[in-house]
């Protein structure tokens, strides 16, 4: 059986799982575990088979079914790139299913989640397996709709309904853009199969339009600024394991679409295409993380961080395009590998973090960090796993997030050899943005972990929280372990990405696994190298050494006492630093410009016992300057066009008539 057949078979099974889930939800609600268990098995085998396929470097396998549009049929194909993304998707889905075996117990409306869950996973897989525009768009829309259904699982809350509405509008818009992009790529002959698109390179103007449409279509799904507005609304609205899937995996499917179209279907990219993507990536990364810093809803914070990481991935993609356009194969391979590795890493730690936030949500019923605190005592294992995730997403060595960002930096440092002035200026600027967003991400996760898990409980719910169930905990700990594993042995993943990069760019990074000590040398040893394993070993050895020396030679006595706090006795938990106060300096420095943040302090006069008030006013400028005017314009036009519904028959005929005459006039003038 070829790999593509195997994957399709597993997906067919996932699709069939949906009616079973409907039946179960109706007849035996207690049996919901079975759905997640079967999903786990299916996705895990698919992940395994696609990893094996990616490692084998075998030629692509494809399959054509006589479905869909008659003269096109349904093409499916699994090549190296699809294998990489299948592995990411299915590994993420396996993690989410594993986690959900425990987490699903808390689901209030399982009937609204269970049927769509396997469908959503299958839809993502089918997008990646599709090999013609029709199947691709169909699967893409299916993915949007199933995820929308999952976002609307808790539809009683007004915010969730709003999130669902914004999401479905943006998703439809994105599909429209992709549809047009494929239309342009297919050309007048209507070559909707990818195979024929690959053979024909579009004209320069078309290439530019395709890039724009792909950035609008897939970019809106991935969440690049300013198309990101739906993401922080929709991702947190879903149940946490689905949030993990949407943030950790579905955004990656969008990245897949970008890579597939730009690197595979649309022919050789121009250098300034790369620059557009690069600059967008840099802006997205910085804006995303700044938004995250302003947020005190734990899940929304994570969703905003997805935007940041998408920006980092886009930086890698933009660099790869720029280098490839200039024939610098090795540098392009480094950039693309960095981007793909970050795709994988982000799916790991973002899933982990959403799992953790789900556990917190279940234990306390709170997503607002200002009501959390001290959970490290009540939920030690969740806290540990969440901490690893925080460190990984903050790009701290020796975890995996650092490795991919380090590789992106290395690619950025190769930019001086680019011939174009624009790129030479844009790349260092993007590098600075990347450094800024990495540092801000660290600040943000100090805030997230520090306020939610450290300190003292800010609400009774947080004080009473209990450790989450064994399945969820195990899932989180395994994923934390994976974050560490790929931080210490990045060569494993990088070598597995090699064939995919090779197939797209005709060059790849040198195999890293043969280098002793798992050293990572992307270009040349004298230029740069990094060894996560050795760093980790050194740190471990130093810790053990210092512990041993101090405990043996000096003191090991510990006395517990009241909090010192420079002599302020017994402050209440409310006097702790909150999420808002933690972000205040950064808000002052960046927020006034980026969010037009304004602080309002209402202090009662001395002697008055009224409480003081402190309000922060934050604006999402993308929303206010782009979406609100566009929506108002649509509203106005619709209001005007509304009159068209109430015309007389004769006026309708007049409209038809005038349209016909206008078309004929066009024909008369232009032919």
């Amino acid at each position: 059986m070829t790999p593509v057949d195997f994957s399709l078979l597993c997906n067919a099974a996932l699709l069939l799982l949906a009616p079973v889930a409907v039946a179960i939800a109706a007849a035996r609600p207690a049996a919901w575990r079975a759905i997640y268990l079967v999903s786990l098995v299916l996705t895990f085998t698919m992940a395994g088979s696609s990893i094996a396929f990616a490692l084998s470097g075998a030629p692509a396998s494809s399959e054509i079914f006589p479905l869909g549009i008659p003269w096109i049929g349904a093409h499916f194909r699994e090549d190296m790139l699809s294998a990489v993304f299948l592995a990411v998707v299915n590994l993420g889905a396996a993690g989410a299913s594993f986690y959900a075996i425990g987490y699903g117990k808390h689901e209030a409306a399982p009937g609204r989640v269970l049927p769509f869950y396997p469908l959503f996973i299958a839809a993502m897989n089918l997008v990646i397996l599709s090999d013609d525009a029709f199947s691709f768009l169909l699967s893409w829309e299916f993915m949007s709709l199933t995820s929308w259904a999952l976002v609307m699982a808790h539809h009683r809350s007004e915010t969730n309904r709003h999130a669902g509405y914004v999401y479905i509008v943006m998703a439809s818009f994105g599909t429209l853009a992709l549809l047009l992009a494929f239309g342009l790529l297919a050309g007048p002959e209507g070559n909707y199969a990818f195979e024929t698109m690959r053979g024909t390179a579009p004209a320069a103007a078309i290439g530019w339009l395709v890039l724009l449409l792909v950035l609008l279509g897939a970019g809106s799904k991935a969440g690049i600024v300013p198309l990101h507005v739906w993401l922080p609304l929709a991702h947190p609205a879903a149940p946490s394991h689905v949030s993990a899937l949407m943030s950790g995996v579905m955004t990656k499917v969008a990245i897949y679409a970008v890579i597939r179209i730009i690197f595979d279907l649309a022919g050789a990219p121009e250098w300034w295409h790369g620059m557009v993507v690069l600059v967008l990536g840099g802006i997205t990364a910085a804006i995303g993380v700044l938004h995250a810093l302003m947020e005190h809803d734990l899940k929304r914070l994570l969703a905003y961080h997805t935007i940041e990481n998408i920006g980092i991935i886009f930086i890698g993609l933009g660099l790869a395009m720029a280098f490839q356009a200039n024939g610098m194969g090795a540098a392009a391979a480094l950039s693309l590998t960095a981007a793909l590795f970050h795709v994988f890493n982000h799916s790991l730690f973002k899933s982990l973090l959403f799992f953790g936030s789900g556990a917190v949500l279940n234990a306390t019923g709170e997503r607002d960090m200002e009501h959390l605190g001290g959970l490290i005592h009540r939920m030690p294992q969740t806290a540990f796993a969440f901490l690893i995730g925080c460190a990984a997403i903050s790009a701290l060595p020796p975890l995996n997030g650092f490795v991919s960002e380090w590789m992106t930096f290395q690619a950025i440092l190769l930019s001086p050899s680019l011939p174009q002035w624009g790129l030479r200026l844009a790349v260092p600027a993007t590098g600075a943005l990347l450094a800024l967003s990495a540092a801000l991400a660290a600040a943000c996760f100090v805030k997230a972990f520090g306020v939610s898990f450290l300190g003292r409980a800010r609400s009774p719910a947080a004080a009473r929280a209990n450790e989450t169930d064994i399945w969820s905990r195990t899932a989180m700990l395994i994923w934390a372990g994976l974050c560490l594993l790929f931080g210490l042995f990045p060569a494993l993943a990088i070598d597995a990405l090699g064939p995919a990069v090779q197939s797209l760019l005709n060059s790849r990074l040198p195999a890293q696994a043969e280098i002793p000590w798992f050293l990572l040398v992307p270009i040349a040893g004298s230029r740069s190298s990094y060894d996560g394993l050795l760093v980790f070993m050194f740190i471990t050895a130093s810790v053990l050494l210092s512990v041993a020396v101090i405990h043996l030679l000096a003191s090991r006595a510990v006395r517990r006492g009241p909090i010192w706090d420079c002599g302020f006795p017994n402050p209440t938990p409310l006097a702790q630093y909150s999420a808002g106060s933690f972000a205040q300096p950064i808000r002052r420095v960046f927020g006034t410009l980026v969010f037009r943040a304004r602080e309002k302090v209402a202090m009662p006069p001395p002697g008055d016992m009224a409480p003081a008030h402190f309000d922060v006013d934050i604006h999402d400028l993308a929303w206010e300057k782009i979406y609100v005017p566009v929506a108002a314009g649509i509203e106005f036009t619709a209001g005007r066009l509304n009159g068209l519904q109430f015309l007389t028959i004769r006026r309708y005929l007049t409209l038809v008539f005038l349209a016909l005459v206008a078309l004929l006039l066009v024909l008369a003038i232009w032919t």
Binding site: A442, V446, L454, S528, V535, V543
Partner: protein
């Protein structure tokens, strides 16, 4: 045989940095005190402080978590490893390939991340204010540092410190304006990262503008000792970094003999002393700035780095 020499050299470097670090801090304090016409504590006072702190029992807040107790060790270990990876007296040590400049800076970032978390662990307003501001300063310093790394990589074609140092030693480097700009920017970043005046005041405890000291306010005993040692190590790291990039004279090249190593150690100690004098002089001649002027300070460092990179492009004649 060579292998043993190599590894023992690495060991020597690790021991060297950890033993020299408190002396550097002590020297800075001494010079500062003399400049203020005080007698000041002896140069070796930090060693005594450390010994005292290590022997004392640690008093920990009742609600502190395991993270609070683990952080000092982790911070110390990360800083130590980072400091040991910067060439001090010789280049091309066997483990210098483990991490390049970006990784070393990131390793310090890991230490800072953990320390900031520890500041929030007990749940006090002082710890929070310290953590929050520390992260602000870091987020401003990192883009500037990235620009400096960019300039260095542009000139030396590497982010590997040994390679950069060897390049700087060779005649190719020459005198460049962009290097000068990068040097100024790096010094500014180093001042900010090490919580020195004018960004932060390492000698104060009860001032609302303090950053680093507020963050570690709850620590005592051996934990505090480790954190102070880490702070000294970090200062040493930055001085060594500046020395090895901008003043690499005396650095022993790879596979050289005992004599050149000894010369290397001697010149390195000399460089540390010069740096300590310069730092003390700078700190006594300037006042601490308020926190919200730090962005301007580090923004200036960023601009200098960016200017350096642009100049390098222009000079390279593209």
């Amino acid at each position: 045989m060579d292998l043993i020499v190599d590894y023992s050299l690495q060991g020597v470097q690790m021991l060297l940095v950890v033993t020299a670090a408190p002396a550097l801090t002590g020297l800075v304090r001494k010079v500062k005190a003399r400049l203020m016409r005080r007698a000041g504590p002896p140069i070796l006072q930090p060693y005594r402080d450390l010994a005292r702190l290590m022997r004392k029992e640690a008093v920990i807040a009742a609600n502190a978590s395991w993270l609070f107790r683990a952080v000092p060790y982790l911070v110390f270990a990360a800083t130590w490893v980072a400091a040991a990876l910067v060439p001090t007296f010789a280049t091309g040590l066997p483990f210098s390939w483990t991490a390049d400049l970006i990784a070393i800076i990131a390793l310090l970032g890991s230490a800072r991340f953990l320390l900031a978390l520890a500041g929030m662990d007990v749940g006090t307003s002082f710890g929070g204010i310290g953590s929050s501001r520390e992260m602000l300063i870091a987020s401003l310093a990192e883009p500037a540092m990235m620009m400096i790394i960019f300039v260095l990589a542009l000139i030396a074609g590497s982010t590997q410190l040994s390679t950069i140092a060897e390049f700087m030693l060779s005649t190719e480097a020459g005198l460049r304006v962009s290097l000068g700009l990068a040097l100024v920017a790096l010094i500014m970043v180093a001042i900010a990262e090490n919580a020195r005046i004018p960004v932060d005041n390492p000698a104060t405890h009860l001032e609302l503008t303090m950053v680093h000291e507020a963050m570690v306010l709850e620590y005592s005993g051996r934990h505090l000792g480790l954190i102070e040692l880490s702070a000294s190590l970090k200062l040493l790291l930055y001085v060594s970094l500046i020395a090895c990039v901008f003043a690499p004279w005396g650095l022993a090249p790879m596979q050289s003999g005992l004599l050149s190593w000894l010369i290397g150690i001697g010149t390195w100690l000399l460089k540390l002393a010069v740096a300590a004098f310069a730092l003390a002089l700078f700190e006594t001649s300037i006042a601490k700035m308020r926190v919200f002027r730090v962005p301007e300070f580090l923004g200036a460092a960023f601009m200098l780095g960016l200017l350096g990179a642009l100049l390098e492009f222009v000079l390279a004649g593209f």
